[in-house]
C-alpha cells in the first residue's frame, strides 16, 4: 500500500506545482493595481510606490512567485490587503467551521446514498422507482441557492423550528444538540446534490453488479435477495461509489461558497466570497491553493481506498 502511495505521489506533487503557477499567473493577469487601490485615488505617486514596495509588488514576477511559494511551504501566508490581519489566522478561523459543515454534508450524502441506492436498484415497485427517480432528478437539478432559500422559508419562516443562519454562539462543541440545530439546514442544502449524484451512481453500479454471473450463482444457491443486494452486490459496487464520492468533493468545496453565504456560516466559503468581491488577491490565492490541495489529497485518498477495497489490486493478480 505504501508503495502504491509512493507511486502516486509524484503526479500529485506535479499537479500542486502546476496549480500554484496557474493560480499565481491568473491572479496577476487581473487588471488593476492593488497598490493604487490601497493608497486611494488621491495618493501621491511616492506613496503608491512605497506601498508597492511594501507589498513586494516591485519585484520581478519570478521573484514574487518564489517569495510566495517559499511562504506557502513555511506557513508564512502573508497579510491580507483589505480585510486585514494575517492570512494564516483568517484561514485558520474559517477552516474549522467549513470542515464541520462539509463533513456533516458528506455524512448526510453517504447515508442517503447507502439507504436509497440499494433500495432503488433492488425495488420491484413502480411507485418506489418513480419516487426515487423524482428525488434523484430534483436533488441533482436544483441549485443550492434555490434549495437553501426554500429550506429557510419552510423551516425558518413558516414553521420557525430551526435557526436560519450563523454558528452556535458558544462554539461547535459546547452543546451538540444546539450545534446540530444550527448545522442541519446548511448541511442538508450542501449535501443534497452530492446525495443525488451518489444515489444515482450507486444504484446504477448496483444494477450492473446484479446482472453479473456471480449474483446468479448465489441466487441459484438460495441466498435471499436482500442478502444478495447488501452482502454481495453492494460490496462490489463500493469501489466505484468511493471514486464518485471523491469527485464530488469538488462539488462540496464549490457548494460551500454559496451555502455559507446563504446561511451566514463564517467559514472559508464566506472568506472566498469576501476576498473575491473586495479583490483581496493574496487571500484568494491562498484559498484557491488550499482547495486544490484538498482536492488532490481527496483524490489520492480515494485511489488508495479503491485499491484497498479491490483485492485484485491489493493482492495482485496471480493468474
Amino acid at each position: 500500500m505504501s508503495r502504491y502511495l509512493l507511486r502516486r505521489a509524484p503526479s500529485a506533487l506535479l499537479v500542486l506545482f502546476l496549480a500554484s503557477v496557474l493560480i499565481f499567473l491568473v491572479i496577476r493577469a487581473i487588471p488593476g493595481d492593488a497598490a493604487a487601490v490601497l493608497a486611494g485615488p488621491d495618493a501621491p505617486p511616492e506613496v503608491v510606490a512605497a506601498i508597492r514596495h511594501d507589498l513586494g509588488l516591485d519585484r520581478s514576477l519570478v521573484g514574487q512567485y518564489l517569495h510566495w511559494l517559499g511562504g506557502l511551504l513555511t506557513g508564512e501566508l502573508g497579510r491580507s490587503y483589505l480585510i486585514g490581519g494575517d492570512i494564516a489566522e483568517l484561514v485558520g478561523d474559517g477552516l474549522g467551521n467549513t470542515v464541520v459543515l462539509t463533513l456533516a454534508a458528506l455524512v448526510i450524502a453517504v447515508l442517503v446514498a447507502l439507504l436509497l441506492g440499494p433500495l432503488w436498484a433492488a425495488t420491484r415497485s413502480r411507485w418506489v422507482d418513480r419516487a426515487l427517480t423524482a428525488f434523484h432528478t430534483a436533488a441533482v437539478a436544483l441549485p443550492t441557492f434555490v434549495t437553501g432559500v426554500v429550506l429557510i422559508i419552510v423551516f425558518g419562516v413558516v414553521f420557525r423550528v430551526l435557526p436560519t443562519g450563523g454558528v452556535p454562539p458558544d462554539g461547535m462543541f459546547d452543546r451538540l444538540d444546539i450545534t446540530a440545530q444550527y448545522l442541519v439546514l446548511p448541511a442538508v442544502c450542501l449535501g443534497l446534490p452530492v446525495a443525488g449524484v451518489l444515489t444515482g451512481f450507486l444504484a446504477e453500479t448496483l444494477r450492473g453488479e446484479l446482472r453479473q454471473d456471480y449474483v446468479t450463482t448465489v441466487r441459484a444457491a438460495g441466498v435471499r435477495r436482500r442478502d444478495i443486494v447488501l452482502g454481495h452486490a453492494l460490496r462490489g459496487a463500493l469501489p466505484v461509489a468511493v471514486t464518485t464520492l471523491g469527485l464530488q468533493a469538488g462539488a462540496l468545496l464549490g457548494g460551500a461558497v454559496l451555502v455559507e453565504s446563504i446561511f451566514a456560516w463564517p467559514g472559508l466559503g464566506l472568506l472566498v466570497e469576501q476576498g473575491i468581491t473586495r479583490r483581496d488577491y493574496p487571500l484568494v490565492q491562498v484559498l484557491l491553493m488550499l482547495s486544490v490541495a484538498v482536492f488532490v489529497l481527496v483524490q489520492l485518498f480515494t485511489d488508495v481506498v479503491h485499491a484497498w477495497l479491490d483485492p485484485r489490486i491489493r493482492l495482485g493478480a496471480t493468474s
Binding site: 453479473q212 446468479t216 444457491a221 438460495g222 441466498v223 452482502g231 454481495h232 493482492l315 493468474s319
Partner: protein, 531 residues
C-alpha cells in the same frame, strides 16, 4: 430405473413471443446423470434456468416442472428460494465470473451455507473448509481465505461445485461445467463430478454441447434442437445407433483424434514463417521461451497448447503485431513489420462477432484490406469481393448485409474471406472455430481445408482443441509454458506422442464414444487404441 427426482413435462419458454423451448419432456432419476445436448440456440440453458426459476422477467413459461411431485414452475420466490441450493443446485460455465471477485471463497461458501442452515460464523467456516476438501482443493484451511483471482481456473470451478454441494442437494444442474477449461482440467472436473455422484448419490443434469463430455459422464442423453427434444436414449444406444438424422449429423460433426489419414510430408525448401529463438516477456513473466518454429510454403502447422502456454503470443509475433524481446522472426524472407510483407499475411480471429466492424457492410468488411493497401477500386473492387464471398460459399446478396444479420459461422466465413483478400502466402488463424457450434465448426474446417488445398497458402493454425488440429494440420507443435515440447507430423504427435506432457494432453481429450471413453477409466494407463 431408480426413484424419479425431477419430471419436466411439456415445458415451454418464450421471450417476448419468440419461442426458445417448445414443449419438452424428460425425467431425472435419483443418482442418475442425464445429459441435455444441443447447439447454441437449442434451448438447453434456458431449460436449465427455467427449472430453478432463474429466467429474466421477460420470459413466459408453460408446462410443468415437478420435483418429487411439487410444481416448481410459477411457484413464488420464497418457495423457489428454499428449493435452490438445498434440493437443486447449479454449477455454471464460466468459473472466472461465477464467483464474486471481492469476497473470499470462504465467505461465499459461508453465505450459501447460512442461507439454508442455522450456523454460526465459525461453524460455517469449518463447513466451508470441509467442502473445499471434498472437491479436492489442496490445503483447504489456507485456501478458504483466498480470493477467486488467487486460484487457477480449475480450482475456481471446484469452488463453484463446492457452492453447489454446500447444502446437500439431490440434483445438480451443471450448465457447460467444463467448456471454459483446458482439456486436462476438464478431465479432472469430469472425474470429480463422476466421483461426487458415486459418493454422495446426487443426480446430475448435465447441459453441454460437447459429445466427448457426454460420452464420458452421462447415463442417458436427451438431444435438443431448436427448442424441441429430438431424441432421448441411454448413452450407449445413442452413440451406437442414433435413430434421428439430426443426432447422426451432430455425432458426425464431432472432430475426433486420428480420423484422418496421415498427411504427406512437405519438403518444399522455402519457409513461409520461421521463428528462431523467440523470447517474449511480459514484465517478469516469460510468455514465450526460446521458441524455434518453421512453417514451410503451403504447409499447415497446428500450434496446440493450453491457456497460458503462449500460443496466441506466438501468433502475434508471427503477424508482426508484437516485437519479440529476443530472437528473430522471418516471414517470406522478410520482416513481418514491413508493410510489403504484411500484405502477404492474413489473420483470422477467434471471435467472428468482435472482429468485424458492426457499422460496415459485409462487402466493406471483406474489402477493407483492398482499400487499405489501395489494390482495387470501383468495379474491380466489387468483383474481387464477390469472388471472395463466393470462395467462402456465401451468397453474393450478403454483400450488403451487416455483421449482426449473419450467424456465427457465416461471420467466421466473412473473417476468412477478409484474410484471403490480398492473396496471402501465410494465414495465421488463432482459434478460428472455438466460438462455433460443432456442426458449424465442421463446415468451417472443411472450407479452410479446401481453400488451403486450392490456394496453397501456408497456415499457422492455433488451437487448444487437439481433434480440430488433427483434422487439418500437416505438422503439429505442442506448446507448454512457453516452450515447444514436441513437434512432428500430426499423426505421430497426436497419436503416438513421445513426451509425457503431450501424452497427458491427448489422454485428457474425451472421446465421443462411451465404450472407448469408459475403457479408459477402467484401464487408465493403457493408451486407448486410436487408429
Amino acid at each position: 430405473m431408480s426413484v424419479e427426482v425431477l419430471r419436466v413435462s411439456g415445458l415451454e419458454v418464450s421471450f417476448g413471443g419468440a419461442p426458445a423451448v417448445r414443449g419438452i419432456d424428460f425425467t431425472v432419476g435419483a443418482g442418475e446423470i442425464v445429459a441435455v445436448v444441443g447447439e447454441s440456440g437449442s434451448g438447453k440453458s434456458v431449460t436449465a434456468r427455467a427449472i430453478l426459476g432463474l429466467l429474466p422477467a421477460t420470459a413466459s413459461t408453460g408446462g410443468s416442472v415437478r420435483l418429487d411431485g411439487r410444481e416448481l414452475l410459477g411457484a413464488d420466490e420464497e418457495s423457489l428460494r428454499r428449493v435452490r441450493g438445498r434440493e437443486i443446485a447449479m454449477v455454471f460455465q464460466e468459473p472466472s465470473t461465477a464467483l464474486n471477485p471481492v469476497h473470499t471463497v470462504g465467505r461465499q461458501l459461508a453465505a450459501v451455507l447460512r442461507a439454508h442452515r442455522d450456523l454460526t460464523r465459525e461453524q460455517a467456516r469449518q463447513e466451508a473448509v470441509r467442502l473445499l476438501d471434498l472437491v479436492g482443493i489442496p490445503d483447504p484451511a489456507t485456501r478458504v481465505r483466498f480470493y477467486p483471482h488467487q486460484l487457477s481456473g480449475g480450482q475456481k470451478q471446484r469452488v463453484v461445485i463446492a457452492l453447489a454441494l454446500a447444502n446437500d442437494p439431490r440434483l445438480i444442474i451443471a450448465d457447460e461445467p467444463t467448456t471454459a477449461l483446458d482439456v486436462t482440467v476438464q478431465a479432472e472436473i469430469l472425474a470429480l463430478l463422476r466421483d461426487l455422484r458415486d459418493r454422495l448419490g446426487a443426480a446430475i443434469l448435465l447441459i453441454t454441447h460437447n459429445m466427448g463430455v457426454v460420452a464420458d459422464l452421462a447415463d442417458r442423453v436427451a438431444v435438443l434442437h431448436r427448442g424441441r427434444l429430438v431424441e432421448q436414449a441411454p448413452v450407449h444406444d445413442l452413440f451406437a445407433a442414433p435413430t434421428r438424422a439430426y443426432t447422426r449429423e451432430l455425432l458426425a460433426a464431432v472432430p475426433r483424434l486420428g480420423h484422418r489419414p496421415p498427411a504427406p510430408a512437405h519438403d518444399t525448401p522455402t519457409d513461409a514463417l520461421r521463428l528462431d529463438g523467440v523470447v517474449v516477456r511480459y514484465r517478469d513473466f516469460v510468455a514465450v521461451d526460446r521458441v524455434d518454429l518453421r512453417v514451410r510454403q503451403g504447409e499447415v502447422v497446428g500450434l496446440v497448447g493450453e491457456s497460458g502456454s503462449g500460443k496466441s503470443t506466438i501468433g502475434k509475433v508471427a503477424a508482426g503485431l508484437l516485437r519479440p524481446d529476443a530472437g528473430t522472426v522471418t516471414v517470406l524472407d522478410g520482416d513481418p513489420r514491413d508493410r510489403a510483407i504484411r500484405r502477404a499475411i492474413g489473420f483470422v480471429f477467434q471471435d467472428p462477432g468482435g472482429s468485424l466492424d458492426p457499422r460496415l457492410s459485409i462487402e466493406d468488411c471483406v474489402g477493407e484490406p483492398l482499400r487499405v493497401h489501395r489494390t482495387a477500386t470501383g468495379t474491380a473492387y466489387r468483383r474481387r469481393v464477390a469472388d471472395l464471398l463466393d470462395a467462402v460459399r456465401l451468397p453474393t446478396g450478403y454483400a450488403r448485409r451487416r455483421p449482426r444479420e449473419l450467424s456465427g459461422g457465416q461471420r467466421q466465413r466473412v473473417g476468412i474471406a477478409r484474410a484471403l483478400a490480398l492473396d496471402p502466402r501465410l494465414i495465421i488463424a488463432d482459434e478460428p472455430t472455438s466460438a462455433l457450434d460443432v456442426s458449424v465448426q465442421a463446415t468451417v474446417l472443411a472450407l479452410l481445408t479446401d481453400l488451403q488445398r486450392d490456394l496453397g497458402f501456408a497456415c499457422l493454425f492455433i488451437s487448444h482443441d487437439l481433434a480440430v488440429v488433427d483434422t487439418l494440420a500437416h505438422r503439429v507443435a505442442v506448446l507448454h509454458r512457453g516452450t515447444v515440447v514436441e513437434e512432428g507430423p500430426h499423426h505421430e504427435v497426436l497419436r503416438t506422442p513421445t513426451q509425457p506432457y503431450t501424452r497427458r494432453l491427448v489422454d485428457s481429450v474425451p472421446i465421443p464414444d462411451p465404450t472407448a471413453q469408459r475403457t479408459r477409466h477402467t484401464h487408465p494407463r493403457e493408451a486407448v487404441p486410436v487408429t
